[in-house]
């Protein structure tokens, strides 16, 4: 019953050659820059789908990783420590150094597409690239991509290993949290008016909450397998809605800053929230019925079904998943109503008398610690 929103993993970028731009003083620095460019090219080829190696060779190159997503994550994890070394130079204190670094970064032409803008869904002339001359933009977009691919990897292993899936979602949440708290706040003052949504700290906060919601959804799947009680399952599902409601709240503030952010992201959060609300109320209703309160159970189910039927996804696969859940809940409601009519004759309370849902959040993000090689670099033109 998990909806799929693939966009955060669909970033694209253009070629960058660090050694042609940054002036090295020694062979160590030059070698570092070449390594950096080489590792970045591996990522470029992969996400731009310009890779011409066969699956077998790709597996060999990544040291035996079968999954395409795993291979991509491996490449990014190799690239990031090299890139992190350069970040302190972006915080140059002297004016002369700032001027020099600005010139280099402009010459680098750091360009990334956005997967979360409205135009990116129509793809008439290919993706639009945003150029921002700041190394943190490069770091931010790379980390955002990493989080997006981790989400896809988590969905990939969902059917075979629920624990691993939930853990990967939590790792992705940690990366987005790191972006929102440590990386992007430093970048935002230098953003031009035309910028990708991915460069905003608030969007990373949204993605972090989405990943936590998805991790909790996976945990619920395990709970259902274990035969957990209806009352606890209800709280867990409502916990997912709490994450998503928080994310939706942030989205409303983002829209004011970034008007061309896609409504697809908002719809994804809304429909996920409705599904988990429906499922949570269904479990609450079953719990109430077991306690002999079938009237309240009917009221709870009727109320939530009326709510989620107001808006239906327009396209498959979201639409069919959504309608299936509504159909299942409607069948449960029909049985409850029939039994109440025939056996119990309990009064159905009004909407104001219904028990309020109670949510429990049980997942947290796994903190992300950036790795960085200990290496001294030396550049011409910097004092």
């Amino acid at each position: 019953m998990m909806l799929h929103f693939v966009q955060p993993s669909k970033l694209k970028t253009k070629k960058m050659v660090f050694e042609d731009v940054y002036a090295s003083c020694d062979s160590t620095t030059l070698e570092h820059l070449k390594e950096l460019s080489s590792k970045r090219k591996a990522i470029e080829d992969s996400i731009n789908e310009c890779n011409f190696v066969t699956e077998a060779i790709a597996k060999e190159m990544s040291g035996g990783l079968e999954s395409r997503f795993e291979q991509d994550i491996h490449k990014i994890e190799n690239y990031l420590p090299f890139l992190e070394i350069l970040i302190p130079y972006a915080d140059a204190t002297s004016t002369i150094n700032q001027i020099q670094i600005s010139q280099w970064n402009a010459a680098l032409k750091i360009r990334w597409s956005s997967a979360l803008t409205t135009s990116s869904f129509f793809k008439i002339k290919g993706p639009k690239f945003f150029q921002i001359n700041n190394l943190r933009f490069e770091l931010g977009m790379t980390l955002f991509l990493c989080g997006g691919i981790l989400r896809e990897r988590a969905l990939e292993v969902l059917s075979t290993d629920l624990v691993q899936s939930a853990t990967i979602f939590r790792q992705a949440a940690g990366i987005y949290h790191h972006l929102a708290q440590e990386v992007l706040p430093h970048l935002e003052p230098e953003l031009p008016p035309e910028k990708p949504p991915e460069a905003l700290a608030a969007v990373s906060s949204i993605m972090s909450l989405i990943c936590l919601a998805e991790a909790q959804a996976v945990t619920i799947r395990k709970a259902e397998e274990k035969g957990t009680s209806s009352s606890l399952l209800a709280k867990l599902h409502h916990g997912v809605t709490l994450f998503l409601e928080e994310a939706i709240g942030i989205f409303h503030t983002v829209v004011t800053q970034c008007k061309d952010i896609s409504s697809r992201l908002s719809e994804f959060m809304y429909f996920c929230k409705c599904l988990h609300e429906l499922k949570g109320q269904q479990y609450l209703a079953e719990s109430l019925k077991a306690c002999g309160q079938i009237g309240a159970a009917i009221g709870v189910l009727s109320s939530v079904l009326n709510k989620v039927k107001k808006k239906i996804p327009g396209e498959d696969p979201w639409k069919s998943i959504y309608q299936k859940q509504i159909q299942d809940a409607s069948e449960v409601l029909r049985k409850f109503v029939h039994e109440n009519d025939f056996v119990w004759h309990e009064k159905i309370p009004s909407i104001y008398e219904l028990p309020l849902p109670e949510g429990t959040k049980i997942v947290t993000f796994i903190p992300y610690s950036p790795k960085r090689w200990e290496r001294q670099l030396s550049f011409k033109g910097l004092v």
């Binding site: 624990v163 939930a166 945990t219 395990k222 709970a223 009680s229 049980i362 997942v363």
Partner: protein, 218 residues
């Protein structure tokens, strides 16, 4: 000729579906019966209370309501019996259909073996079919027999039942031990409070949550 006499048998799925639905209805009837039994028992308790309060009229009213519930229970029992009958009939009809199919197969085999149909075999088959048909008709006639009208209340019977309740109540009172004089008051020193062990056990839900978190490495 045989094709017209023997129709296509009902698909298996339809019979099974019908049996499942009948089972569901049966379950519902059983639930309702339990509810009514509880209500009848509650009325008996009320009648006892009114008897203690010397309110004979109210007690009789409770017994009347109990009778009404018992009538409903009896009716539900009849309904359940009808559903059981129908289930048995369905299963019997299924067996009958299979028998007729077998007979048809046998008849077809015999026809294939003999160039001419033996009239004695046909007569025998028809006799068996007629016998089965007659059985079905008898079952349907038995089912269609209307249930007799509810009997009138017998006031004398209610009175007798009430006297029985009174007798039981009196007997219960006689078995009670004599009440003793109230004990002398025990002096408790001022400010002294009995210590109670604080034992708060985690709820089952908390246990479930902890187990889930451990399993998911959260």
């Amino acid at each position: 000729m045989f094709t017209r006499i023997f129709g296509k048998p009902k698909p298996e799925v339809n019979t099974l579906t019908a049996l499942d639905e009948l089972n569901d209805k049966l379950e519902m009837l059983e639930k309702k019966e339990k509810v009514l039994l509880k209500k009848a028992a509650a009325e008996v308790e009320k009648a006892k209370e009114f008897t203690r309060a010397k309110n004979k009229r109210a007690a009789i009213q409770c017994l009347k309501r109990k009778r009404l519930y018992e009538q409903q229970i009896e009716q539900l029992g009849n309904f359940q019996l009808r559903i059981h009958d129908q289930m048995i009939m369905l299963e019997g009809a299924k067996a009958t259909t299979e028998t007729v199919d077998a007979l048809r197969t046998g008849a077809a085999a015999m026809r294939a073996m003999q160039k001419e149909t033996n009239i004695d075999d046909v007569d025998k088959t028809m006799d068996e079919i007629n016998e089965q048909t007659e059985n079905m008709k008898q079952i349907q006639e038995a089912l269609s027999t209307p249930i007799g009208a509810a009997a009138d209340f017998d006031e004398d019977e209610l009175e007798a039942e009430l006297e029985e309740l009174e007798g039981a109540e009196l007997e219960e009172q006689l078995l009670q031990p004599a009440t003793t004089a109230p004990a002398a008051p025990v002096h408790v020193p001022a400010g002294w409070q009995p210590t109670r062990p604080v034992s708060s056990k985690p709820t089952a839900e908390e246990d479930e949550l902890a187990a889930l978190q451990a399993e998911m490495a959260l």
